[in-house]
């Protein structure tokens, strides 16, 4: 039984690690300027964690193989060094790992959260609601109309509760169900939640940020590749959560300008 268990453990370790080693589940293409930091961090962690995982399982397997079904009078041995080695090992190996990963890991985090957006970053407002994202561009005047929750009229496409009747800034605001941005241009996304908590997740951008009702956050990123990517909600927001998605449409500067012109008609 012990031998069998050992074999199973080895198989488990190998089969669990194989898909990762063979890269059956590759990370999506990285279209952000900071993504490579996260990817390399993930790669390093995977390496260390993988070694620890396989190592532990194999050791467990070996000990099972060696020390099960022994005769009742078989001599009991203690692991050389005893507990002290274990503690020291844990502190050395894990401790250094912790510090290393902890320290390096913060770089990616810092570039996302601590570096302020450039002054010329493209200002776009994102509103998350049950169960869609809407994006607002300030229009020619470069100013956003104020949000009036009581004026929201979705049947009439007024998702933000704009008041064009009384506010000039609101009249030229462009609202789109698709996040269209120019390539290689920093975007400062101001995040507003209309009803509940939502989240903005684009795998390729390596960006995930919650929308917090009552707390308007901003996150900034630069897309480096033209194409269409999925924006999904990762924060449980109600019955349509699974279906809450939009598209990130990265266009060349010209196409983007063209699109903007069409919209402002």
């Amino acid at each position: 039984m012990g031998k069998f268990f050992a074999v199973v453990l080895v198989l488990v370790a190998m089969l669990s690690a194989y898909p990762i080693i063979a890269n059956y589940f590759p990370l999506p293409v990285d279209i952000s300027t900071h993504g490579h930091l996260i990817d390399s961090q993930l790669h390093d962690t995977m390496l260390e964690a993988g070694i620890a995982f396989i190592g532990a399982q194999l050791v467990l397997a070996y000990f099972l193989f060696a020390f099960t079904g022994r005769k009742p009078d078989a001599p009991l041995k203690n692991f050389p060094g005893g507990a002290k080695t274990m503690v020291i090992a844990a502190f050395l190996i894990v401790g250094t790992e912790v510090l290393a990963l902890g320290a390096f890991g913060q770089k990616a985090w810092a570039t996302v959260y601590f570096v302020p957006p450039k002054a010329d970053a493209l200002q776009i407002q994102a509103q998350a609601e049950q169960f869609a994202f809407y994006f607002r561009y300030p229009g020619p005047d470069g100013k956003f109309g104020a949000i009036h929750p009581d004026k929201i009229d979705e049947g009439n496409q007024n998702y933000f509760g704009l008041d064009p009747a009384n506010e000039v800034e609101a009249r030229d605001d462009i609202v789109s169900g698709e996040l269209v941005i120019p390539v290689n241009r920093e975007v400062n996304l101001m995040m507003h939640a209309k009803d509940f908590g939502h989240s903005f997740y684009v795998r390729e951008l390596r960006i995930q940020q919650d929308f917090v009702p009552g707390l308007d956050l901003a996150i900034h990123f630069t897309a480096t590749q033209i194409g269409k990517f999925e924006i999904v909600c990762t924060q449980l927001c109600g019955l349509g959560h699974y279906n809450m998605k939009a598209y990130l449409n990265v266009k060349s500067q010209d196409d983007y300008d063209k699109w903007l012109k069409e919209q402002s008609q």
């Binding site: 609601e129 049950q130 169960f131 869609a132 994202f133 009229d153 979705e154 049947g155 009439n156 496409q157 998702y159 008041d163 064009p164 009747a165 609202v175 789109s176 169900g177 698709e178 109600g238 019955l239 349509g240 279906n243 998605k245 939009a246 598209y247």
Partner: protein, 236 residues
């Protein structure tokens, strides 16, 4: 300008109603609903979130809050007898409300108190029907594709906004009415209420964003009357 249009339209309707008199019992009220002023420009609905629906339209459909037609005619106005007529028993036939292409067909569904309401989902995606009544009981049901129609009833007269929680742009209206004398204006904005027994009535026209208007009329015998409604349209 608009007035002139309306008058012409009225005359046209008079001519038309002369034929309608042929109806056997009771009088007939016909008319046309128009607007004056500039109505808000309906924006195209952005369905990019739901590709299965978006691909059903060559060009994005317009929002239906205000639907206008030739000659300033106004659609989706429900015209009904708000006073003077006795309450009618609900008909046995069901009123059907269909979700197709992530829109409500019809946009405004008028039916009677206690009349069966059948809601069907012809889309490939899950919908969620959430009427927001004030006097009736509120319910909120999802309808995955391929599930049997939802059957409901309302026991009080009310104009009920209907929304789909999953697709924010999907908005419609249930007009739950006391009696069988009602009509919803379609293309051209005209309506006709037939078989009105003689009597004094208040006839009301209701529009989801322009509110309602009422007029008093007296029907004697099988005469045909014309009633027109003109709503004030706002650009925003």
């Amino acid at each position: 300008m608009q007035m002139k249009h309306a008058v012409i339209a009225g005359l046209v309707m008079l001519g038309a109603s002369a034929l309608a008199v042929a109806g056997p019992s009771g009088g007939t009220v016909t008319g046309k609903v128009t607007y004056e002023g500039t109505p808000a420009k309906m924006k195209p609905i952005d369905m990019s979130k739901e590709p299965s629906c978006a691909k059903m339209y060559p060009a994005p459909p317009l929002a239906e809050t205000v639907v206008t037609g030739a000659g300033n005619s106004l659609e989706n106005v429900v015209v009904f007898i708000s006073a003077g007529a006795p309450d009618d028993a609900a008909p046995s036939t069901a009123a059907t409300f269909t979700q197709k292409g992530c829109r409500y067909i019809p946009h405004l569904l008028a039916f009677q108190v206690n009349q069966e309401l059948k809601i069907t989902n012809e889309d490939q995606t899950s919908h969620n029907i959430h009427p927001l009544p004030k006097v009736n009981r509120e319910w909120n049901k999802s309808q995955p594709p391929g599930t049997p129609p939802i059957s409901e009833k309302y026991d009080k007269a009310e104009f009920i906004p209907v929304k789909c929680n999953v697709h924010p742009w999907m908005h419609g209206t249930f007009a739950v009415l006391k009696n069988s004398h009602f009509a919803v204006t379609g293309d051209g904005g005209s309506f006709s209420l037939a078989n009105l027994p003689p009597g004094k009535y208040t006839i009301t026209a209701w529009h989801e964003s322009y509110g309602d208007q009422s007029q008093e009329i007296t029907i004697s015998g099988t005469e045909a009357k014309t009633v027109n409604f003109v709503f004030k349209a706002k650009p925003y």
